[in-house]
């Protein structure tokens, strides 16, 4: 369970989050909608511990642990995964080396031996097929020269490899054509487990049509101003955000 209470956060001295309260139970999918600049990406960055953001007040408890006291890599080991809005290109680091380092770091954290090379390559083959990435993936540098769609599919592939308990999709639908959106969303759904949860950040409903969130929140100016069921997303799709601004 993720429990965020009265979370305030700023970047370069500018306050972006102004008291967020959010509880995500195991197995739930929450959608967060809102206009650009509302603080959606700040919220996801703060959850995963991006060093540029400063938490000035409030708490995040994850599985009874104080998340804010953990380093980004420890949060990852505790099962939190961010699908980046703009996945970073890392020239010279191959996907196979990158994933091996990530997976074995997690195994080490869990007190397990590194995965044997053969098993690891087999696992990569299995998981990349979920998002229809081809065999060249292993030798390509991380995200370098990937198309927009490939980058997002690569994020879901990494999610498949690391099997997180909480996944944050930060505008995973942005820049995707209809087919890529379907591959990404169906891939995500295949990877869901009864105890895994997700926070889906988006402007639009089309991704939510696939992911079927349990709860929808509207974030305006650093605060959650409205929370509802899936019907809230539909309403926003037809009415926009203006009617919520003074609520």
């Amino acid at each position: 369970m993720l429990k965020i209470e009265n979370l305030h956060a700023s970047i370069n001295g500018k306050e972006i989050l102004k008291g967020i309260n959010l509880t995500v139970l195991d197995g739930e999918v929450h959608a967060i909608m809102g206009l650009n600049g509302a603080g959606k990406s700040t919220l996801s960055n703060v959850i995963v511990g991006h060093p540029a953001y400063e938490v000035t007040e409030g708490s995040i408890i994850w599985d009874n642990k104080d998340l804010l006291s953990l380093k980004p890599e420890e949060r990852a080991h505790e099962g939190i995964f961010l699908s980046f809005q703009q996945p970073t290109e890392i020239p010279g680091v191959s996907m196979v080396n990158f994933m091996r380092a990530a997976l074995n770091a997690k195994r080490k954290y869990q007190g397990l031996e590194p995965m044997p090379a053969g098993d690891f390559l087999k696992l990569m083959r299995q998981k990349r097929s979920i998002v229809e990435l081809d065999s060249k993936l292993a030798s390509r540098s991380v995200n370098e020269g990937f198309s927009g769609g490939e980058k997002k599919r690569n994020e879901i592939f990494q999610m498949a490899m690391l099997e997180p308990k909480l996944t944050i999709l930060d505008e995973t639908d942005s820049g995707l054509d209809v087919d890529a959106l379907r591959i990404v969303a169906e891939g995500f759904n295949k990877l869901r487990r009864p105890d895994s949860s997700a926070i889906v950040i988006t402007h639009y409903q089309r991704l939510l049509d696939y992911l079927k969130p349990n709860v929808v929140h509207v974030l305006i100016d650093g605060r959650i101003v409205k929370t509802g069921g899936p019907e809230l997303a539909t309403e926003i799709e037809s009415r926009g955000f203006d009617w919520l601004k003074n609520s």
């Binding site: 890599e73 890392i90 010279g92 680091v93 380092a101 770091a105």
Partner: protein, 411 residues
């Protein structure tokens, strides 16, 4: 002044021993060398090609000077100079820049030369490996000469490694001369893996004939103070050179690469790539000149120096230079100095890779391009392993060595 005196006095004292242990071709060059060396002394930083070196300071410590000829079994195609063919022996000191005082000091004090001679049309299957192992309890200076002669259409890979087996101070002054006849192919690799108390001066001079092809990669994996000079003269039409280098330096290490690619003939190609990863208080320098002479039409040349400074206290001096006196050429040159990619670091940490490991992966990634350019697959694989170990601080010399003790600064 003190420093040059000690070398001149030493030479005057032991000149008879040197002459007796050496051979006529080498002895014939000593008087001129003495004149050059005593007239010029050690170059000051005002001398353009020594701008980033502290030559006087590097040569000042009192070293015992090794006067040992090459001994033992030599691999195929390798000879002591006295055993090489006469037409090869006379090439000694003909390609090197004899006006340079560091070269003159080498000519003065070297008593033997390792000759690699590959005859016409011969393709040497296995790489020729020359391992230099510095060993001894005394602080020692080594004066090393190598002459590589590739006859027409000859092909070979030569790997020269420098290592140190004892924790004494060592000063190496190396001169390598390479004569490449028409159509010959040579891959020449230099790998330095010494320690913080080692100072290395290396001067490599190459002369290339028509359609000859040289690949040179110089890797400084671990060192104290290093100054590498590479001069390549493309004298024959259609000749090609790839001149690459990579440097990993941290602590107080200092690495200076100084290159000249001299396009003297038409339709030659040069491709130069040097990459540095500097950490802690390391200092790097790269000065590379590409000279396209009048008449060297259809020249294609590319020069790149890219550097990663992992700390604020690491420093890099970079000076790519291009001088063109022909009007139908395609040339580019450039350099970059950058810091760690913070976005990439965070991306990796979010996937569970700890910060130290993430930094290491980024550093290795930065120089992987230089290693991937190496045509010799077995060496490439070995170097990937060595680079990884180096970045993890696992090279053998790091085990049980106290050289990183701050009370011990490099020479």
């Amino acid at each position: 002044m003190e420093a040059i005196r000690q070398y001149i006095d030493f030479y005057n004292e032991v000149r008879d021993t040197i002459s007796a242990r050496s051979c006529s071709e080498m002895n014939a060059q000593r008087e001129d060398a003495m004149r050059t060396f005593s007239a010029q002394g050690f170059p000051s930083p005002k001398v353009e090609r020594y701008r980033y070196a502290k030559v006087e300071a590097d040569f000042s410590p009192n070293y015992g000077i090794a006067l040992t000829p090459i001994a033992g079994q030599l691999p195929p195609y390798c000879f002591r100079i006295a055993d090489a063919e006469p037409r090869v022996r006379v090439l000694y000191n003909k390609v090197a820049d004899t006006t340079d005082s560091i070269v003159a000091l080498s000519t003065l004090l070297s008593i033997d030369t390792l000759v690699v001679h590959v005859p016409r049309g011969t393709k040497v299957e296995h790489p020729i490996q020359i391992s230099n192992l510095l060993k001894g309890e005394q602080n020692t200076m080594v004066s090393r000469r190598i002459l590589i002669v590739m006859d027409e259409l000859a092909q070979a890979d030569v790997i020269i490694t420098d290592r140190a087996a004892s924790q004494s101070r060592f000063l190496t002054n190396q001169v390598i001369e390479v004569v490449m006849s028409d159509g010959s192919h040579l891959s020449l690799y230099e790998v330095e893996e010494t320690h913080l108390l080692c100072t290395r001066y290396s001067s490599v001079f190459v002369q290339q004939g028509r359609n000859s092809r040289l690949h040179h990669t110089n890797l400084t994996l671990f060192n104290g103070h290093t100054r590498n000079r590479l001069d390549v003269r493309l004298q024959g039409e259609g000749s090609e050179v790839t001149a690459n280098g990579c440097v990993i330096a941290d602590k107080m290490q200092h690495v200076d690469n100084n290159t000249l690619i001299d396009h003297q003939a038409p339709a030659c190609q040069s491709d130069e790539l040097y990459k540095y990863v500097l950490d802690d208080n390391a200092v790097g320098a790269f000065a590379g000149k590409v000279l396209v002479r009048e008449g060297a039409q259809k020249t294609v040349s590319r020069e790149t120096n890219a550097n990663l400074c992992a700390t604020r206290s690491a420093r890099m001096y970079t000076q790519p230079m291009l001088e063109i006196y022909a009007d139908d050429v395609r040339c580019s040159h450039g350099s970059t100095v950058g810091q760690m990619n913070e976005a990439a670091l965070f991306y990796m940490r979010q996937r569970g890779i700890d910060e130290q490991e993430a930094r290491l992966l980024l550093k290795a990634a930065f120089i992987t391009e230089v290693i991937e350019n190496i045509p010799l697959e077995s060496l490439r694989d070995r170097l990937h392993v060595l680079v990884d170990k180096r970045l993890r601080g696992e090279l053998s010399k790091c085990e049980g060595c106290k050289l990183c003790d701050p009370s011990l600064t490099p020479p």
